[in-house]
């Protein structure tokens, strides 16, 4: 009997040992495959288990997290959602992420390996570092003034700091509240359906993702091409441009809105926006020269990320001369995003160089330790520095009594260019009102801001739509805010400097 009890004991312990072996099989060898199974909700639950990191504007988070106590525990919240939607994008449990929420998701959700100084510790404890923060370059006053300036009209504003490439404002109107889409359930689905079906396309990021014909604002690019190519050497010399201008190889006559454009100088043509002169110059620069020039401004670049992807601005690579002439004045197939046109203004303001545009200054851990800091670099050299200086003068003249006088700021040096872009079949659509420009505060060495404003203005009378009338005032208020900001920061820096060098008070 003793022997048999031993056998029975051995059998029972063998059964328990088999369980242990099976546990090793499941928990060690099969675990990776089971973890990856799409029906395993743990991955998505872990994603929402902890609050998401925040997106910060001017030192204040514009996002938050709400603990719902549901399986997908934390939901995204937004303060001033519609205002910052073109910057933040959305983080939805149902519909995923877009824009910064998407581009910086590893940091915000805490999965970025950079957030864990000692990854081994986190692996061992199976904990995840808390979501980090994304500090943007956006300035709250500029963003707000631009959004309020559009006042619900369809349009967009992009503002950058020319010297650094920092994007100071990125506005799209009409906008939407991404907080409506954060969670799950019927209300979220209904909001999603409604926003997608809305004729105004509130979820479209017009500043980054929509391209418009740039119209006359594109004449800055053509002027830079002509100056760089040596087609024009003296901006005040006559350009031999006939008026009216017969498009090459056609019987179509290109008209002017402005007067006195016949054989006008480049300076006059920019100041009063002569179509004939600029179309003529574009043809003289030639297709190859124009393509070369537009590429230096960033046209036809589909890879630009800020870090959200920016739509490709288009200048056709193959076309007949008449179409080249139209393209040179921002018509035909030429299209640009508002950010692209802000970069055109920034190129002029910054001596021809375009600094890499970016929305994220730095990312930090939840405790505020910097994880990654944006390093300034050049995006493109758009034109030669002397060309930029000449164009600065020409753009200033547009504001000082030219078509852009609505953008003038007392005491500041402001350059600009208006545009009224035709579009639609047979140009029957309500034109887009454009303004691009830059502003330099008194006593400062370089312009503080470059801005592009586009107003679709579908509700206005066609005759009333003009870059100078609709878009320039918005640009002015944004530029004014930028100058005030610069002044304030300079004062702060000076104060800090004084404090630093002052002898200690006893």
């Amino acid at each position: 009997m003793i022997r048999c009890i031993r056998h029975a004991a051995a059998l029972c312990l063998l059964l328990l040992a088999a369980l242990l072996v099976n546990a090793v099989r499941v928990q060690v060898f099969q675990a990776p495959e089971l973890d990856r199974n799409p029906a395993n909700r743990r991955v998505v639950m872990a994603r929402y288990a902890d609050p998401r990191g925040d997106i910060v504007v001017d030192g204040v988070p514009v996002t938050g997290s709400k603990d719902t106590r549901q399986p997908l525990r934390h939901e995204r919240t937004y303060t001033d959602g519609p205002l910052y939607a073109p910057v933040t994008g959305l983080a939805s449990q149902t519909y995923g992420t877009t824009l910064l929420e998407n581009a910086e998701d590893p940091v915000l959700s805490g999965t970025s390996p950079m957030l864990a100084p000692f990854p081994f510790v986190h692996d061992l404890g199976r904990t995840r570092p808390a979501g980090g923060n994304v500090v943007t370059t956006v300035r709250e006053p500029l963003q707000r003034l631009a959004y309020e300036g559009l006042a619900g009209r369809r349009g967009a504003v992009a503002a950058v700091e020319p010297s650094s490439g920092r994007i100071l404002a990125l506005v799209s109107s009409p906008s939407y509240d991404p907080g409506l889409l954060s969670g799950t359930g019927r209300e979220v689905a209904a909001a999603w359906a409604r926003l997608n079906a809305a004729p105004d396309q509130p979820m479209l990021n017009r500043a980054l993702r929509q391209t418009y014909p740039p119209g006359s604002t594109f004449k800055i690019v053509t002027a830079a091409a002509a100056l760089d190519a040596g087609v024009v050497t003296d901006v005040d010399a006559p350009t031999d441009a006939p008026e009216p201008y017969l498009l090459p190889g056609t019987r179509t006559v290109l008209p002017n809105e402005a007067k006195g454009c016949g054989n006008a100088s480049l300076a006059y043509a920019i100041r009063w926006s002569c179509n004939t002169v600029m179309a003529h110059l574009g043809v003289r620069v030639g297709a190859a020269g124009m393509l070369d020039a537009v590429a230096r401004f960033g046209f036809n670049d589909a890879s630009l990320r800020v870090p959200s992807a920016v739509a490709r601005s288009n200048f056709d690579t193959e076309m007949t001369l008449d179409r080249l002439a139209l393209s040179a004045i921002g018509q035909y197939d030429t299209t640009a995003t508002p950010l692209q046109m802000a970069l055109v203004a920034a190129a002029v303001a910054n001596g021809g160089e375009i600094a890499q545009p970016h929305l994220v200054d730095r990312t930090t851990t939840a405790d505020g330790d910097t994880v990654a800091q944006h390093v300034r670099r050049t995006y493109r050299q758009a034109m030669l520095p002397p060309t930029a200086l000449r164009l600065q003068q020409l753009m200033v003249s547009v504001v000082d009594g030219g078509s852009g006088s609505n953008a003038a700021i007392e005491g500041a040096r402001v350059g600009g260019k208006t545009g009224t872009a035709q579009h639609g079949v047979g140009n029957t659509g309500t034109p887009y009102a454009w303004f691009i420009g830059w502003a330099q505060g008194p006593g400062t060495g370089r312009p503080a801001v470059a801005v592009a404003v586009v107003v679709e203005d579908a509700s206005a009378n066609r005759e009333d739509v003009s870059g100078g009338g609709s878009a320039a005032p918005i640009a002015r208020s944004v530029m004014e805010a930028a100058l005030r900001e610069e002044e304030r920061r300079d004062a702060e820096r000076l104060g800090a400097h004084r404090r630093a060098v002052a002898p200690p008070v006893r």
């Binding site: 003793i2 048999c4 499941v26 928990q27 089971l34």
Partner: protein, 446 residues
Amino acid sequence: MTAKRRGVELTLLVGAVLISVLGYVDVGLARSGAVPPDAAAYGAGLGLLALLAHLAVRFRAPYADPLLLPIAVLLNGLGLVLIYRLDLETPDDHAAPTQLVWSTLGVAFFIAVVVLLRDHRTLQGYAYVSVAAALLLLLVPIFFPAVNGAKIWIRIGGFSFQPGEFAKILLAVFFAAYLAANRHALAYSGRRVWGVQLPTGRVLGPIVAIWLVSVGVLVLERDLGTSLLFFGLFVILLYVATGRTGWVAVGLLLASAGAFVVGGLEPHVHGRVEDWLHPFASIEAGRGPGQLAQSLFAFAAGGMLGTGLGLGESVLIGFAAKSDFILATAGEELGLAGLTAVFLLYALLVARGFGTGLALRDPFGRLLATGLSSIPALQVFVITGGVMGLIPLTGMAMPFLAQGGSSVVTNWIIVALLIRLSDSARAPEPRGAPPGAVLPVVEEVR
């Protein structure tokens, strides 16, 4: 004189209670960042139960194995922690307080058995009473409505219990008593067929009949786990009693045939087999993960070290997460490391039980100890193998760990009987038999 080792037991008990209380505190800290307000009360309650049980053993079974009680307290405490932890996910269903009440009742039974049963050989005289009670208990649930597909429950008022759980002990007592009395007849009488000595039908008949009735009833009630357990218990005890390997072969053959027939024909069982063979079929069919798939996900999520108490998502398993599938929570939150510890606790309990059987001198005691040790071993294998995809799933309760009143009480009685048996085994000679008990058979025949 044999060492009593009661101090060792007390020390281990303190450790078991401390580990349970720390687990309870850990759940609170992980879930809400605060120590549960009733942690002290919980600790005091478990500690008091452990102390009372210890005192009963100290005064009434002073030579008992010092490991048995601490293992039971630790497993019971761990089960309470896991149930409490799962309660947090199901606000409408709080099972931990009820489980604590049942545990208290279990310990009361434990103390009653240790105090009242002075010698295990007394039970030998109640063999036929036991089997009658067992069959009655097994039959009664047929007259009650099915719960989740199995007719194994009796519901009276707000309380429900599984009589099959108590029947385990009664049948073990009967098998042990009957086989102890008839083992020579079973081994050496009857005709020879093809060189195999068959026992006479007069000896073998009653016990096979009782076993068949039990298993038949359980199959009718769709309690596959328990029928498998009874089958294993019967075969093991028959083998130990007769020493005939042939019984094991016959048993395995019968089991295979039975499993094949039942698995193929009975739709409920057939479904379980299908789930076992294809745990992810419902995912592929677009119906989301089934219970077994969710259980496997939980074990996988635990990995080597687990997510930590309170930090897993095993509640996704849904129905039966606190009972049949409670081990998945242990696997997810304590990891392979914690699971290994749990398996070792069961293995230690089983091994000490078998050790008691080896040390005892009377065949009844030996067979009873063997049977009582085999029950948790088989039960742990059947339920764990089921929830981890090793064998088809059969609903059963993890001893001490799972939610289930009758199960907890039964397991406490099993441990009490093992304590009583081990006290006899380790007590110094001579020891007088109480009046009326069958005298021990000292000599070993084979």
